[in-house]
Symmetry: C2
Subunit: 345 residues, 2 copies
């Protein structure tokens, strides 16, 4: 008790209890109940732990065991309302298994992605969940992970060979488009997302497949790539409303874009679904609270997050050199018919 240590360590507990640090460690070890040890000793140690407010240092344990019980969660931007449920899914499963989650927002910027991977590797996270549907060109920095055997699970279709969880964006969008076509729509515009996102690409592809299969031509300027936000939907929908052949339906790459389209239609004095139908994608909570309620493709985002974390946990249990299964886990989507769609008039 000569110099005041910064914090309390196992040594302080040992001193307070009058035992060796090994004995303290035994009290704390998981198989503690089985271990033979005098009851009186155990109690002395437990008393010291409680009095000092001691908490074992997980860094030291991690160093020893080569396991940090920490995972990185890499995504474009948590501000996109699609992500919070995904984050919750990952975090809830993680914390239930004693894992921590380090959040990394990349803004789809390859430099930020690379920088985050650097710090995740330096802290030796056990694994990483990466979301956002990246193209191969942006994924170079992932090679880093091999050296430190960092497990990787992808959410969405990425251009890489790894375990992944996703939905079938092509099929889902195709079905949504066919639904509109089935109601008699011919002039269907597609309001898309960023070109660098495989999710945006796949949804556009599904739209195109349905249009082609029905022998329909995409309206001139009828495919607009943009951002996954309201502003993008507002601007692109607004532009199309001014065109000669006004679309009778808008198929949107996500709900935020659809909300922007709602605003553009309202500002043009048009009514949904009488003057134009609108279909979204994701089924965020707000989709049932806009009026008219939004017809959209429900994505089990929370479950996707859960499943991604489960795949990571499974990877931790495998032999270090095991080849991971790379067949994507596909979760089902569902077209939720609400009030924003009607046959064209």
């Amino acid at each position: 008790m000569s110099r005041s240590k910064a914090t309390v360590s196992i040594r302080d507990v040992a001193a307070a209890a009058g035992v060796s640090i090994a004995t303290v460690s035994r009290v704390l070890s998981p198989e503690s109940p089985q271990i033979s040890m005098r009851q009186e000793t155990r109690e002395r140690v437990e008393k010291a732990i409680a009095e000092l407010g001691y908490r074992p240092n997980d860094l030291a344990r991690a160093l020893l065991h080569q396991r940090t019980a920490t995972v990185g969660l890499v995504l474009p931007d948590i501000s996109n309302p699609y992500y919070p449920p995904l984050v919750r899914g990952v975090e809830d499963v993680a914390s239930a298994h004693g894992y921590r989650v380090v959040l990394c927002n990349t803004d789809r910027n390859p430099d930020k992605l690379a920088a985050y991977l650097e710090t995740l590797v330096k802290t030796r996270v056990d694994g990483i969940v990466i979301a956002g549907g990246y193209l191969a060109a942006d994924l170079g920095s992932l090679t880093l992970l091999r050296t430190y055997r960092t497990k990787l699970v992808a959410v969405g279709r990425h251009e890489l060979e790894h375990p992944s969880v996703r939905i079938d964006n092509v099929a889902a969008t195709r079905r949504a488009t066919e639904y509109l076509i089935g109601l008699g729509h011919r002039e269907i515009a597609f309001l898309g997302g960023p070109e660098g996102s495989t999710t945006a690409q796949d949804r556009r592809a599904g739209y195109r497949a349905a249009m082609a299969a029905a022998g329909l031509v995409e309206p001139a300027g009828g495919v607009q790539d943009g951002e996954f936000d309201e502003r993008s939907g507002y601007e692109h929908a607004g532009a199309l409303l001014g065109s000669a052949r006004r679309p009778t339906a808008f198929l949107c790459a996500n709900d935020r874009i659809a909300f922007g389209a709602y605003a553009a239609l309202a500002d043009a004095g048009l009514s949904v679904p009488r003057d134009a139908s609108v279909v979204g994608f994701d089924d965020v909570p707000m989709a049932s609270f806009v009026r008219p309620t939004l017809t959209t493709v429900a994505v089990p985002t929370y479950e996707i997050g859960q499943e991604a974390m489960r795949l990571l946990l499974a990877a931790f249990d495998e032999a270090a050199d095991a080849e991971p299964a790379t067949d994507p886990v596909l979760l089902p989507t569902r077209l939720v018919e609400r009030a924003s769609v009607a046959p064209p008039t």
Copy 2:
């Protein structure tokens, strides 16, 4: 090279470069350029580092320096759209300074809060940002932090003595209420948030202060506590619409509640703002995309997050035993007048 090590460490680099680990460490150390060292040696080491893909282990460094460069971010639920910008503010400042952010969603559950604090302390995070406006009763687990000198910064008004960042919820809500009163509204209902949240409490208090000062009586059943979500706003607004003296204005504790009120009004065949005015709080992105656009109190959420992280960084630079300033940093709010408010008819 007899047995294959799991990962590459400083020892492998030293062996590959034919130097001691001390020399490798010097190449990596920050003041490296100044240090006297043969150019040829440095290059040999750098080559080995590159070839092996070596990354120094930050756990080992943290153990030595007693600094993990990691902070915890504790909040009720990232799914509430109010939080993502806050998270980004914290994370952007954190990553710019080399810090990582561990995300912890508590769902306002004291047990979850306690469990997260346990793991944060065990990993020896340098500090914690806690958001959500907790009452003293739920904050008992924070005493843990003292033992390990974990710095704490609060976002919002918490019942504890710590540096904090917040807005003046009472004054802002009072002003918003006065604005409605000034337009001639008398029957103003308040759609509130959870009772366990100081934010919800303060907003309700601001409303009551304005009503009392104007000599107005709160309409019967006109103060409804609930959740910070659309459903709560929808249900409570709907209930009030069925009452004898229908409110001419709804003051909502946040924007999500306001969106719910919009839906309830629409379903009742009423028009905003002709039949009822609606005021929200937060100014989430969607507020400018609903129609009519939502009049609301803009909260600089991103800046709040930034400032919270800056306070934490400042605390790290202080002497370990320094008494932290506990005067809250108050950030300004602004009433954004949009289209959801009109004088009563």
